[in-house]
Amino acid sequence: MKIEDQEVLHVHNLSVAYGKTPVLWSVDFKLPSGTFVGIVGPNGAGKSTLLKACVGLMKPAQGYVGFFGDKSLASVRSRVAYLPQRESVDWNFPISVREVVAMGLLARHDKVPARDEVAEIDRCLAAVSLGKYADRQISDLSGGQQQRVFIARALAQNADLFFLDEPFAAVDVATEKMISGVLKDLVAQGKTVIAVMHDLFSVFENVDRLILLNNRLVAVGPKSEVFKPEYLQAAYGGQLEMLSKVMHLFAQSGAK
């Protein structure tokens, strides 16, 4: 079996609720490896919830999630990396950039990094151009740099499947380019990247596949099949501004 054909993620009939409010209803899809997948939808569509349910941070009301051919998460944890939203942690925590990245190695084998792994940490930091900042306190960093620290930590985990919650949130254009470059490198190595995304332009630029959500699964598949006005309209409920943006993208891509 070729690695591209392997089914890395299987979400089956997944429903998740916050208290009595259902957020995801009966979501069903499978994803192959070696793709960059964007989870897209309006605010409150359950994008982050889908991610959290996949990595076990939220208990589903029904359904299950299988990894690498329907294995349970517990049996494949070392192959799965999760990047939370940047605001979910306290950036005043007394810890250095290097220590945060070292957490990624710890996740791999639950040991304090040995000496030869320091080079590995440096490599991950260099990949996001943070080499100079290795021994800085994380509170000294800008928002974009903090996001890059998180990316470096995910790289250090050396996983096969990456779940990223809004990796492009509140970063500047240069940082977004750098992060998407790093993620595309991972995909080129046959790994799978699943990212919650906000900006449709960025989705259009970066992803191979889309999961279009609005509490229910609206559409899933390759960008060429799913990034279409009728699906986007179904997901976004016909927000005019959004649609006109999309039409603009189409006009551009048609001209290419």
């Binding site: 208290g19 959290k52 990595v55 076990g56 941070l57 517990a74 944890r77 799965v80 999760y82 939370p84 979910s88 942690v89 306290d90 925590f93 007394p94 810890i95 250095s96 220590e99 945060v100 957490m103 710890l106 996740a107 304090v112 306190q137 930590r153 779940f163």
Partner: protein, 432 residues
């Protein structure tokens, strides 16, 4: 005499040990922003020991006190967790409700018990203010073994605790048993709170957990350093407070210990590298620098309008300040003192700026006008929108940036038609 010394040494050792453990755990709690939670648990100990007194058949019994306290802490914690899960209540209010509810319940119980002779003699209200002197040799041994066990637990799991405290979600996805970490932390907190209440009382117990780590956090930048320095600081505070109380028998040990730690916190908050004075000193200096620079600039405007560098005076500054100085309340004496480093001499007629002063003044005006020109030429600002920004930015533009802006802009005059000094054919400085 000798026996007295003995008891007070137990008290001191007990206070030091319980403070050390509290500071170690407190370091985690403050980083997880759960300081108030310890306060809630501390207040729950109060009805707990009274229930322990009742269970023991109306007598003081350390074992029953302990069990009662653990039970009450569990009830308080469960109440909090249950309430906090309701979004209409939330963490904050849940803490307040559980804290005051448990404490009020304890007070009601105590008042019923104290109506009987046996209850009145039980001295249960020592738990309100703490009574380090009542700490026995057995207690000290229990504290000591507790300290060893907890320190070992944290030492061998410190990285895991650190990751969990920093990023709970990451820890959970990575497969850490976060539930186990949380439960073990709170079991340790519950046990320590019970001893802390005996040492410093219900009301002050939480301070024993949070004051030392919060102070130390202002000085250090590493998690591991935070842990051990907090333990040392807390132990010293406890030692000092307990000695103080032993020397003066009317002084409750709890209040003495917490007062010392509180003073250390205030000192840290004011004087530490992350503290108040450091940043306010910086602010004051910036304000002073800007004011001086504005005064120097007004000399340049004077020189520009009169064509002569001589005869600049306070009157001139006051005439020009209306337009150019932000701070209009500056008195002449203050102006003189600010300008002193930049003048050759001052007499009743006015200031004569030194060569350095003139250069500085010219540089400021040059940077101001270059910035205005840059904003209009390159950034598309309209000319009447750029002055205020330039008033701020001129103080921060260094030589490097000045050269770079100068290379960017084409014109020799600013958007208001004033020449940019140093770019005029006549040349800058105007030295006589």
């Amino acid at each position: 005499m000798f026996a007295d010394l003995d008891t007070s040494w137990y008290a001191i050792a007990g206070a030091v040990l319980v403070s050390s453990v509290a500071a170690l755990i407190g370091s985690f709690l403050i980083l997880q922003r759960r300081s108030l939670l310890v306060d809630m648990l501390g207040h729950s100990v109060f009805p707990g020991v009274i229930m322990g007194f009742l269970f023991a058949g109306w007598q003081r019994s350390a074992g029953w006190f302990f069990l009662g306290a653990l039970l009450a802490i569990a009830i308080g914690f469960a109440l909090f967790t249950w309430l906090a899960a309701d979004p209409k209540v939330g963490d904050d209010a849940a803490t307040a409700i559980a804290l005051s509810g448990m404490f009020a319940f304890g007070t009601v119980l105590l008042s019923r018990i104290q109506q009987s002779a046996m209850g009145a003699q039980a001295g249960l209200n020592t738990f309100l203010t703490g009574q380090a002197a009542l700490i026995s040799k057995t207690d000290v041994l229990i504290f000591a073994s507790l300290l060893v066990v907890i320190s070992a637990l944290f030492y061998f799991n410190r990285t895991r605790f650190k990751i969990w405290a920093f990023d709970e979600n990451f820890a959970a996805v990575t497969g850490f048993k976060t539930r186990k970490l949380e439960i073990s932390l709170y079991v340790v907190v519950a046990i320590t709170v019970f001893f802390a209440v005996q040492a410093v009382g219900v009301v002050l117990a939480s301070a024993l957990f949070v004051l030392a780590p919060l102070s130390v956090l202002l000085w250090v930048r590493r998690f591991e350093t935070l842990l051990w320095v907090s333990v040392v600081v807390s132990a010293l505070g406890a030692f000092g407070g307990a000695r103080w109380s032993a020397a003066d028998e009317r002084m409750p040990a709890g209040a003495a210990v917490i007062t010392l730690l509180f003073l250390f916190f205030l000192v840290s908050w004011f004087f530490s590298p992350a503290g108040y004075f450091k940043s306010s000193r910086l602010r004051r200096r910036t304000r002073k620098t800007r004011l001086t620079e504005d005064l120097l600039k007004s000399w340049y405007y004077f020189y520009e309008s009169t064509g002569s560098p001589e005869g600049f005076s306070v009157a001139w500054i006051q005439a020009l300040t209306r337009i150019h100085l932000e701070d209009r309340s500056v008195r002449p004496e203050k102006m003189r003192s600010l300008l002193r480093p930049w003048v050759q001499h001052i007499d009743d007629n006015g200031f004569a700026l030194s060569a350095a002063g003139r250069e500085r003044a010219e540089a400021l005006v040059r940077r101001h006008r270059l910035w205005e020109t840059y904003l209009v030429e390159k950034m598309g600002f309209s000319p009447d929108h750029v002055h205020d920004d330039a008033e701020r930015v001129e103080h921060f533009i260094g030589e490097d940036l000045e050269f770079r802006i100068e290379a960017e802009v084409d014109r020799d005059v600013d958007p208001h038609g004033k020449p940019i000094p140093g770019r005029r054919p006549v040349g800058g400085g105007g030295s006589p």
